[in-house]
């Protein structure tokens, strides 16, 4: 995964972004949202709107080096075990073990073992205190493993420090786990995988499916990530910005395979927002909710992208929109603006418009001005050019566009859109065809090719 450029593509038609999370997720006037957080993200969801819910079909009980146990998924399908509860408790339990002095990698293994045990035992003998039960069992597993380990002297050194029931920790265990999994020493792809595994409670197999790589590859990636952070002490708060970046990458990846990464990102961000009061965390959660709310409208039944302006707004999830706007309002009240809040504000303005024609583009341009100030990102400037084109007319948009590097992803698509609006269909058709050749994903390519075809098919153009 590359460095995901954070930008709101709201404006344009197509918010493209590629799998690598590069900064392609800009708004392009023609497909907007269809791409919104990336083609895989909210992109073409041909399986229907039900995909929005949290994915709870399987619990991550494969064990950390999941390759060894691939194929067994003891939790999935067992009606007697509360999978949602187990996955929710996973980071808490792991955080407690690490706080007690267990090395992260070993603790993570032990927690997975405890989850498997829970699935076996709970149906017949449900614990009164599920979390306490998991901590007890996981800690016992950790001690057993440490004793059995050939490097026992080293392990016992660690074990000797604990367990000591100490005062309540100053920083929430779960929060520390987020920091650890997004540690700056990790590459973005490693941080994403580790977060989904250790905080999200997903199996290695399912993470591999989501990212379309072999399971052995993902198992290695996670193992290496665990080694990288195994020496990190969780005694100081980390940087919230790195955590947000990882969650944003997960959300942007969106939807591929059987795992709904967008929904998972929302779940994890919601959890984070519950343990830390930070306006950018709230801003990111609002941004995700507002984009996710439009998911059902983003693709036609045949999988084709539907531009924002053409979306059936009746398909938008008004509950998610209301929640997103509420969260954003509370965040903005802190008066500590950040890029996620500003992006969410743009999304909120779109969500708030009863029709595309009634969109408050002037205010959207103002938010992009804020974003330019906050990030100085060329991708944001590209989005801004689209918004300017809507607010002040295509000529003004083209002028804004002319100031930008034309090698920017989606630059050509934006130019095509603005030229069409400016009454130059032949130029627009040529640019759409060129933009299609440069597209970084199939859905976007098809969409842009259709736009070119639409203009080429007009009377007198052949």
């Amino acid at each position: 995964m590359g460095d995901g450029e954070v930008s709101d593509g709201e404006v344009g038609d197509v918010e493209a972004s590629d799998r690598e999370g590069s900064d392609a997720d800009v708004g392009d006037p023609d497909v907007d949202d269809a791409y919104a957080r990336g083609p895989d993200a909210d992109g073409p969801d041909v399986r229907g709107p039900e995909a929005g819910g949290p994915d709870v079909r399987g619990l991550d009980v494969d064990g950390p080096e999941a390759g060894a146990r691939a194929g067994s998924d003891p939790v999935a399908g067992d009606p007697d075990v509360d999978e949602v509860l187990l996955r929710r408790l996973t980071p808490d339990v792991l955080g407690i073990l690490v706080r007690r002095g267990a090395h992260f990698a070993a603790a993570e293994d032990a927690v997975q073992d405890a989850l498997v045990e829970a699935v076996r035992v709970w149906p017949a003998d449900p614990p009164r205190d599920p979390k306490g039960w998991l901590v007890t069992v996981a800690w016992r597993r950790f001690l057993d493993a440490a004793r059995a380990d050939t490097a026992r002297r080293r392990r016992e050194g660690v074990v000797g420090e604990e367990p000591v029931p100490g005062p309540a920790p100053a920083v929430d265990d779960t929060l520390q786990l987020y920091f650890l999994c997004a540690h700056p020493a990790l590459t973005p792809s490693s941080a994403v995988a580790l977060t989904l595994r250790a905080v999200g409670g997903l199996t290695t197999r399912r993470i591999a499916e989501a990212y379309l790589v072999p399971e052995a590859t993902m198992a290695q990636r996670i193992s290496r990530a665990k080694r990288t952070v195994s020496g990190v002490r969780l005694d100081r708060p980390g940087d919230v910005a790195t955590v947000l970046r990882v969650l944003y990458l997960v959300f942007n990846e969106g939807y591929s395979g059987d795992v709904d990464l967008a929904a998972e990102a929302i779940r994890l961000t919601r959890r984070l927002a519950a343990v830390i009061d930070h306006p950018e965390v709230a801003g990111l959660l609002a941004l995700m909710l507002l984009h996710h709310a439009r998911r059902a409208a983003r693709t036609a039944p045949d999988g084709a992208l539907v531009p924002l302006a053409e979306q059936d707004r009746g398909l938008w999830d008004t509950g998610a929109i209301a929640e997103g706007i509420g969260i954003l309002g509370a965040a903005l009240a802190h008066d500590r603006l950040g890029e996620f809040q500003a992006q969410a504000a743009v999304a909120a303005l779109h969500a708030d418009a009863p029709s595309a024609e009634e969109t408050d583009w002037t205010q959207i341009v103002e938010w992009y001005d804020e974003l330019v100030r906050l990030t100085d990102s060329p991708v944001v400037r590209l989005n801004r050019a689209v918004a300017v084109g809507e607010a002040e007319g295509p000529r003004a948009g083209l002028t804004a566009l002319a100031a930008l590097d034309d090698s920017l992803p989606r630059h050509t698509a934006v130019a095509a859109y603005l030229h069409e609006r400016d009454g130059e269909p032949a130029t627009a058709a040529r640019l759409y065809a060129e933009a299609a050749r440069k597209a970084s994903n199939l859905a976007e390519r098809d969409h842009l090719t259709r736009q070119a075809a639409r203009l080429n098919a007009r009377p007198g153009s052949r």
């Binding site: 058709a429 440069k438 098809d446 075809a453």
Partner: protein
């Protein structure tokens, strides 16, 4: 079972019969084409013959080792390269006859005017692991 690669070319294959570029089709013709391709892949998944399908961007580059301590040399993209792969589908089928049958179906995908493109697809068998029984 034997795996076959069906290669689709941007350039380098003999000209198709219905050779009008896609941006000169109507939007409905594009939709029909996309649907045909999706249905084709879905059908192969149902029959248990689908392995993988990927599309490639038209522009890439050549990369070459340039000696110890030096960064790799890159070159291209070459506009005149004769052969340019657009994408592929990998199938796992019982026979070469079946592979040919499927490639023929894929080549019949509709293009301009809703008529089959008759695109030439390159069909290449995978080299396999050696058999256990050798005598």
């Amino acid at each position: 079972m034997a795996k076959y690669l069906m290669l689709k070319h941007y350039r380098g294959a003999p000209a198709a019969v219905n050779n009008i570029p896609m941006d000169r089709w109507t939007p409905d013709e594009i939709s029909a084409h996309v649907r045909y391709m999706q249905d084709f892949a879905a059908r192969l998944e149902e029959t248990g013959e689908f392995v993988d399908s990927q599309a490639l961007a038209p522009e890439g580059m050549f990369v070459q080792y340039d000696g110890e301590g030096r960064p790799p040399v890159t070159d291209g993209p070459f506009a005149e390269t004769k052969d340019l792969i657009a994408g592929w589908m990998v199938i796992d089928v019982d026979s070469q006859e079946r592979a040919i049958e499927l490639a023929g179906e894929l080549s019949a995908a509709p293009g301009a005017g809703g008529k089959p493109i008759h695109e030439w697809l390159e069909l290449r068998p995978f080299l396999t692991a050696p058999p256990t029984v050798t005598e």
